[in-house]
Each structure stands twice: as structure tokens, then as C-alpha cells.
Amino acid sequence: MASDAVWWKVAWRNLLRNRGRTLITASGLAFGYLSAVVIVGLTDGIVAELIENGTRLMMGQVQVHSPEYRPERNMHHTVGGYDGVDLEALLARIESDPDVTAAAPRLYGGGLLSSGEETRAGLLFGIDVDREQRVGTLLSQLSEGRLPEAGQYEILVGLEMARQLGLEIGAEVVVVVGASDGSMGNDLFTLVGVFETGTPAIDANYAVLPLPDLQYLMAMDPGRVHEIALTVTRARDTPLIASSLAANLEGSDYAVEVTPWTELRPELAEMLGLMDAVNYFIAAIIFGMAIFGVANTMLIGTFERRREFAVVRALGTSPMGVGRTVVYEGVILGTISLIAGALITWPIVVWWHNSPPDLTSLIGGFSMVGSQWRPILRIEYSYDTPVICAVALFLTAVFAAVYPAWKATRVPPADALADR
């Protein structure tokens, strides 16, 4: 063991011998660490933005429906069937689950909105104004006006729909909707607000009105809703929370289907899986490039020390002992680089996280897999990324030392000393 400490010492002294070279190699690794953490953080930021916009705006993280409702979304398949449910009791039961943070009932109707000469097809979204605000961010995105009140025939529409119908706050809107009895429910509503989500499909097609008003228009009882959307404590564990909630809700008079967002938006979930894979790929490329740089430097270092290796070999050191000191050099180099990398990465990530560069003025927002993305280059804090990158950096340094170490073991003492 004592001899081992000697080899560590030798490795350390070797690194100190050519400080410039050690510094440059360590800097390369440290910057590799920085770029890996920042790039992975940025993709995590995009992912987080997509999940938030994909789930927080309207979807919620879990949805409860009648088992027959999806995917056709037939208006007759309300939760609990034609008779509907005791809505307050069901909501209370769902909210009694400790993992559920909020629940909001919803009713959907397909219909027409008309004002003056203009008529457009629209999706009518009936909501409980108070509860909806706890689940989705839609109602917080009013660009104008205020929220509707139930029983007052008040309605919200998206910015693009308002533009197409030529609507201003206070305008009268004729709403026509296919009702559950086959008739065309129709009534006059007053536009009290306009929302702007930035997602074109929503801003152009959705009209929001209080649940009781839409139920009345669609000739449905107050207990009839299509959907209950929930938010949960841990978005990552949504599938688990959804299945435990489904088990809790079993044994009601009616069957329900509980669906996590990963199933509601499988393309989003898949995209996130892909992003994770891309992260590993990026890290692999960065450290893959680093490994050759470091190996090259260390290889030169071992060639310079051919004579030294030959001397210690001639004095009776085993080839493994010589190789070990080169690997130890890699370990020490990795540790130094890691400390340096962490020191430069930490403040940059904190700064970036707190004031992400907003490129909105340059490129505007756009949609990706149906989810709005704002061009704000935010970095997400993550527990695993810095750790994974640290392990990768350390392994890079060690693996980079393996080939030079092997070369060192092959130094023939006699030839090297004879300068042959």
C-alpha cells in the first residue's frame, strides 16, 4: 500500500512538472463539462417548456372520462353515462387523493359562433371558472376583458377567433351547438374577454363559457360533464398517480377511465424520450472528442518519460506499476478538471436559469408537436445531468489514460536506456 502512495505521488508530480500542459488539458475537460451541462440543460428547458405548455394550458396532467368517451369524443358519453354524476361528490372523492392538487370539470360542444355576417365553427369549452384556474393556465391568458360569470350568458373567445368574427369586448355573439336531444341549442352571449395562448389551434377555435350555461345550451343536466382534468403533485410520476387514482375510484356506481398525460399526448411523451436520448448522445460526442485530446496529451507525456520508465523498470518495478502511475495521472487530472468544471459551470447555470435570454423579438414563438414553445433559452436545474456529466468526465480522463499507460508498460528498459 505504501508503494501505492508513492505512485500517486509520482503521478501528481508528473502533472506538476509541465503545468502549462496540465492546465490546458484540464481546461479542455472543464469546458467539455460546461458545454455538456449547458446543452443538456437547454434541451431539458425546451422539454419542460413543452410539457408545461402541453399540459398546463388545458390538458391537466391526468384526465378522468367515461370509458367510452375517448377517442371519438362523442358528446353523449359523459362521465357516469346519460344520467351524469353527483359532480361535487366525485370532485371531492378525486381531491381526497393526496397526490391530486386540483380538479376541474369540463364539457365540450361542437358548434358555431356568429356575429353579424361572419360565422365560424368553434369548439365550445364549458368550465367551472374557479376550479379551471387551479388546473389550467388558459384563463390566466386573457389579453383583454375579464372572466365570464355563470348564468349571465357571458363568453370568452380566442384572439384569432375574435379577429375573424370582428368581435370586440361587449359584442353579442350567437352561439349554436349540437344539443344532446338532437336539436340545435342556440342563444345570444356577450363577449367579456379574449384569450391569447399563442397556440394557433386554440386561439382560433376555442370559445370558453361557464359550465352551467353550456350544459343548458346542450340540453344536459348539471351532473353531466365529459372530463375532469387534474393536476398532481409530481408530474414525473403522473402514470403512477393516475393508476392509483383509478384504483381509488373503482367501486363507484359507474366506471371511469383515468388517463395520464403521457397517454393523452403520446407523441409528446415520445418526443421527451427522444430528447433524453439526444442528451446522452450530445454528452457522448463532447466527451468522445475530449477523450482523444486527453489521450494524445498523455501519450506525448509518456513518450517524454521513456527513459524514466526504463529506469524504474530496470530497478525492478513491474510493468503494471509503471502503467498504474499513468492511470493515476488520469484520475488526478479528471478530479482537477471536475473541480474546475463545477466552479465555472455552477455560476453560469444559475445565472442562465434566472435570466434566460429571450429571443422572442428575433424569431417569435412557434409550435412543436402541438405544444407552444417560446424562444426563451431557459436552462432547467437537474439533479442527474451534472452527476452524469461528472461521471462521464471522470471516465473520460481515466479511459484516456489507458492507452498511454499500456504504452508505458511496453517500454523495454534496456533499449530505452540505450536510446535505441
Binding site: L112, T119, V174, D181, M184, N186
Partner: protein, 260 residues
């Protein structure tokens, strides 16, 4: 090159075949009329130059059923107006079909609304007909090529059966339409609508043929969607008069919203 000449050859032989078929049809004594002429004639007999009548529309779906009494006016193939008389809750609701446009009048809010293009494929009054069906119905002679696919006796009645295939540029939703017409009085018995894959989508049947204002017409139509055979829309004419005094100015938004 080979491909081009082969396709031309194919086209030439098809044309020859078509010509042969046509001359064969012309030679047969009972098919002196072309398919197109027969269909056109059937169409005119059913519609008249103008018409006015009363009908009951019974709609049965998986989830609800209802019955509406309606008054109907039509002029040529392009104009018609339908107004609901009962039930009281929907009385006054009216639809105007004028060319490609469909307008609804909603008495509760006292507004006329033009059905936007996106909803032309939507159901008309909850029935198994879409607005588009009713608008396009008037152009069947222009949009389709006709051929007599069967001629002979079915259940003791001499019939023609026609197959209508849409012309390449025609803006139609069906891949193929088949119609059976009785030979002796040119009354239609059924029409079958197929999609592009050749799957039956719905069947319209005609029955209760009777004289109304001097014309023989089927007084009852049934429309049955193939994927939901338990659903049905039935239209029963109670009164129907033809060639009445109506002109285009009647089919206006003003008439549409005139409360009765």
C-alpha cells in the same frame, strides 16, 4: 416511352369498349334512353319545376329520437327552403339552400347564420343528411358518370340499376353511388352510397308511392347509415304540390326569417 405507349393503348381500348357498350345499349329496344337521360327524368319527376309541401322528419339515433314537422318549398334544383312547424320549441327554425350556400334561421335569437364551409359536412337538423348532401344532390347529373349496371327483373319487378362514378374533377364525397329505378314508372326504389374504398356508407330507400297533385311520387324516404343500422332518418310527405307560382326572389334571407 414504353409506359406511355402502353397507357395510350389502354385508353384507346377503353374508349372502344365504351363505344361498343354504348352502341349495344342503344341497340336494345328497352334502353333507348341513356342512363343519364333516365336519371335526369327521375330527378325531374321527383322535384318538378317548383314544389311546395309538408313533411314529417323522424330521426332515430343511438342516443335520442325526435320528430319534426316541416314545410318545404323548392324551385329547380338549386333552391329550397325548409321551415320547422313543430315541436313548438323548434318552430320557426328554418334552412335556406341556395346554390352552394346554406343558411339557418334561429328564431330564439332572431338571427340568420350562414353555415361555414367547415360545417357543410355537419348534420342537417340532426338528421343523417349533411348540408353538403342536400346541396350536392342537385348536381348529381353534372358530377357523375352514369352507366346501366343491371337491367332485368328483381322480385317480380323490371328495374334498371345504375352505377354512378364521380367525374375526376367533381367535388363529391362518394366513391360510387348505385340507384335502382322501376322500369314501368321510373320510380326509384333505393340509392346506395359507397365511399372511396367501395364500402357501403348509407342506403336510402323509397316507399309508399302515391299520387300527389297528379304526380306519382314516393311519399316516404328512409336513410339508414350502414355502420349504425339501428339508426334512421325517415321523411314522410303529407302534402306535395308541383309547379306552383314561385320565383327566385322567394328564396331570400327575408323569407327565411319571416316568422309565421
Amino acid at each position: 416511352m414504353d409506359r406511355v405507349s402502353r397507357s395510350r393503348l389502354l385508353r384507346v381500348s377503353l374508349t372502344t369498349a365504351a363505344a361498343l357498350l354504348l352502341s349495344a345499349a342503344a341497340a336494345a329496344p328497352l334502353t333507348a334512353q341513356t342512363a343519364r337521360e333516365i336519371i335526369d327524368k327521375v330527378d325531374r319527376m321527383m322535384r318538378g319545376e317548383s314544389s311546395h309541401g309538408r313533411m314529417t322528419v323522424d330521426i332515430t339515433t343511438e342516443h335520442w329520437s325526435r320528430s319534426l314537422d316541416m314545410e318545404v318549398w323548392s324551385l329547380g334544383a338549386e333552391h329550397s327552403l325548409v321551415r320547422v312547424e313543430s315541436p313548438a320549441r323548434e318552430a320557426g327554425t328554418a334552412t335556406l339552400f341556395a346554390g352552394d350556400e346554406v343558411w339557418n334561421y334561429l328564431p330564439r335569437v332572431d338571427r340568420t347564420i350562414k353555415v361555414p364551409p367547415a360545417l357543410m359536412m355537419g348534420s342537417w337538423m340532426g338528421s343523417h343528411l349533411t348540408n353538403d348532401d342536400i346541396v350536392k344532390e342537385s348536381r348529381i347529373v353534372d358530377d357523375y358518370d352514369f352507366e346501366i349496371s343491371f337491367e332485368g327483373e328483381v322480385d317480380g319487378v323490371e328495374v334498371y340499376e345504375f352505377t354512378m362514378t364521380p367525374r375526376p374533377e367533381a367535388p363529391v364525397v362518394w366513391g360510387r353511388v348505385e340507384e335502382q329505378v322501376r322500369k314501368h314508372d321510373l320510380m326509384p326504389t333505393w340509392v346506395r352510397y359507397y365511399d372511396d374504398e367501395g364500402t357501403l356508407v348509407r342506403t336510402m330507400t323509397f316507399s309508399d308511392y302515391k299520387m300527389m297533385s297528379g304526380r306519382l311520387v314516393p311519399a316516404v324516404f328512409h336513410i339508414i347509415p350502414a355502420d349504425k343500422p339501428e339508426e334512421k332518418t325517415s321523411m314522410t310527405y303529407h302534402e306535395l304540390e308541383f309547379d306552383i307560382d314561385l320565383d327566385e326572389s322567394f328564396f331570400s334571407l327575408r323569407t327565411l326569417r319571416a316568422r309565421r
